[in-house]
């Protein structure tokens, strides 16, 4: 169901970084079109 679905993954420095979210989602079949890590402080 998730195959081919496009994802934007925004991670957070004190939480889960963007590349980690992207890796998990790609492993589940999603297509990550953009990922970034942000620092909200």
């Amino acid at each position: 169901m998730q195959k081919g679905k496009k994802i934007i993954a925004i991670g957070e420095r004190d939480g889960v970084p963007g590349p980690v979210i992207a890796e998990c989602l790609e492993g589940a079949g999603y297509e990550v079109v953009f990922q970034a890590t942000e620092c909200f402080v």
Binding site: D14, P19, V20, A36, T37, C39, F40
Partner: protein
């Protein structure tokens, strides 16, 4: 185990802190500058939500910052803290002071070697003159100030009135526009102010300092050397440290921790005998979350420039000190997850000293004031960091899951630092840590700072640095 018998300590003579209240510079913070250009109607809303100096002084987190109340006492103050102002609060504190905007303007004028800033003569005579220090200020008539602004200078306000002008340093260089130079000069004067406070508190002469390391967040330089740096030497000159040279240490928010390690290492190696580690305030971060504060009908709380200065020298008996043998960095191969950070910046260096996570009496982490960050959805940053350490202690079987809150309460604290980036990142706790060490209330504290390197688009990595502070009982 041989390493355990050889602690390497560098003395921390003291640390001073200052907060500079600049409500009329909030408009020049990076976020407000962009948003006010796009939506000029926000100007009025912003101006209505700016605090006066009395409110900034009586704001409990600021009183913790300058050492008049402890983080533990702050935890007992009901929220919202901006409504529960501390009665009888003073701008002078045991660790330093709060500086008002008028004094800040006078400091800018006195530290300007390139004819960048000018003030309206009558306003300066009535308000700024009593704070004048350093070079004679450039004074102009109101008409001349307006003329400078019409030609591209940045107007400097006192409330609604334009009382000064900040000119660009070059007609073409984007690194020398007025906004950038104001940011750099503000960093210089706030750092210099904290260094003066530290010297005075420790009864030292400026000439005693060998070396100054600045870990401020500005980027001093021109178009051929953007971020070229060495604000440290400019700060040393400003304070009269004629025997010192200096250099800057940059590592995003972790900069101050690296600067402390570098300073301690200069002393350990014998290169320097007395090092000042300093940082000025980050003007770019003023009003960073102002829109959230406006939406919540709160005061705009990011109206403060934070600064500090720590003095390091060879360790004396019973003196609080940095354990150089405890220093840890976040290696490239460690991965950027919070768990990896906690492992490499807490668990592993502690294990090297024969300690567990539960052997540390107090952790100083990212101590951002949650009252600033929670309204914008950024969460309670210190609490998140403490829970990560507690979770690691659970994973290692050092505490039960049910004891996590107790771990956070006993070994952590509430955040109280303005969102100035480098300032909240552990170094803000050093003053209270020294107090607690001297009083024997804690045996040691582990300071842990993180840096968001990925923001510069050169690596996806985060970064971090930690070290233990304890009392030299050797």
């Amino acid at each position: 185990m041989a390493d355990l018998a050889k602690p390497v300590r560098i003395g921390i003579e003291g640390v001073s802190y200052s907060l500079t209240h600049v409500p009329d510079l909030v408009r020049y913070g990076s976020k407000p500058l962009r948003e006010l250009q796009a939506r000029p109607e926000l100007k009025e809303q912003l101006s209505k939500r700016l605090r006066n100096f009395a409110a900034a002084t009586a704001y409990a987190p600021h009183q913790v910052y300058i050492g008049n109340i402890t983080p533990e006492q702050l935890a007992e103050v009901a929220k919202p803290w901006y409504e529960k102002l501390i009665e009888g609060a003073t701008p002078q504190g045991r660790f330093g002071d709060l500086v008002d905007q008028t004094q800040c303007y006078a400091l800018l004028a006195g530290a300007d070697q390139f004819d960048l800033v000018a003030f309206e003569d009558r306003w300066f005579g009535e308000h700024g003159a009593r704070h004048a220090i350093g070079r004679a200020p450039r004074l102009r008539s109101g008409q001349e100030i307006q003329s400078l602004c019409d030609k591209g200078a940045l107007p400097l306000y006192d409330g609604d009135a334009v009382v000064g002008a900040f000119e660009p340093g070059h007609s073409e260089d984007a690194n020398l526009v007025a906004e950038v130079l104001l940011e750099n000069l503000a960093s210089k004067v706030t750092a210099a102010h904290s260094l003066r406070l530290a010297l005075r508190a420790l009864q030292l002469q400026a000439e005693d300092i060998d070396f100054v390391i600045s870990c401020s967040e500005e980027a001093v330089g021109d178009r051929y050397n953007r971020g070229g740096g060495n604000l440290a030497k400019a700060i040393a000159e400003e304070v009269g440290c004629v025997n010192a040279s200096g250099c800057d240490t940059k590592a995003f928010c972790a900069g101050p921790m690296y600067a402390m390690v570098h300073g301690a290492s200069l002393i350990q190696s014998g290169i320097a005998k007395k090092v000042a580690v300093v940082a000025g305030g980050s003007l770019a971060k003023l009003g960073m979350k102002f829109e959230s504060h406006l939406k919540k009908n709160m005061p705009v709380l990011e109206d403060m420039l934070g600064s500090f200065a720590a003095i390091l020298s060879p360790a004396q008996p019973n003196q609080p000190s940095i354990r150089l043998d405890s220093v840890a960095f976040h290696p490239v191969g460690a991965g950027a997850s919070p768990q990896a950070m906690a492992e490499y910046l807490a668990e592993k260096p502690l294990a090297k000293l024969g300690m567990k996570l539960t052997d540390v009496d107090r952790y100083g982490v990212e101590l951002h004031n949650p009252e600033i960050t929670v309204p914008s959805g950024s969460g309670d940053v210190p609490r998140t960091n403490y829970l990560t350490l507690a979770a690691l202690a659970v994973m290692r079987g050092q505490i039960q899951k049910s004891q996590m809150e107790d771990f956070v309460r006993r070994r952590g604290m509430v955040g109280y630092a303005p969102t100035q980036g480098h300032i909240p990142s552990a170094i803000v706790y050093l003053g209270h840590a020294l107090d607690h060490l001297r009083a024997g209330r804690i045996r040691q504290a582990l300071l842990i700072a993180k840096g968001s390197l990925f923001l510069g688009r050169m690596t996806q990595l985060s970064d971090g640095c930690s070290f233990l502070v304890d009392r030299n009982e050797a």
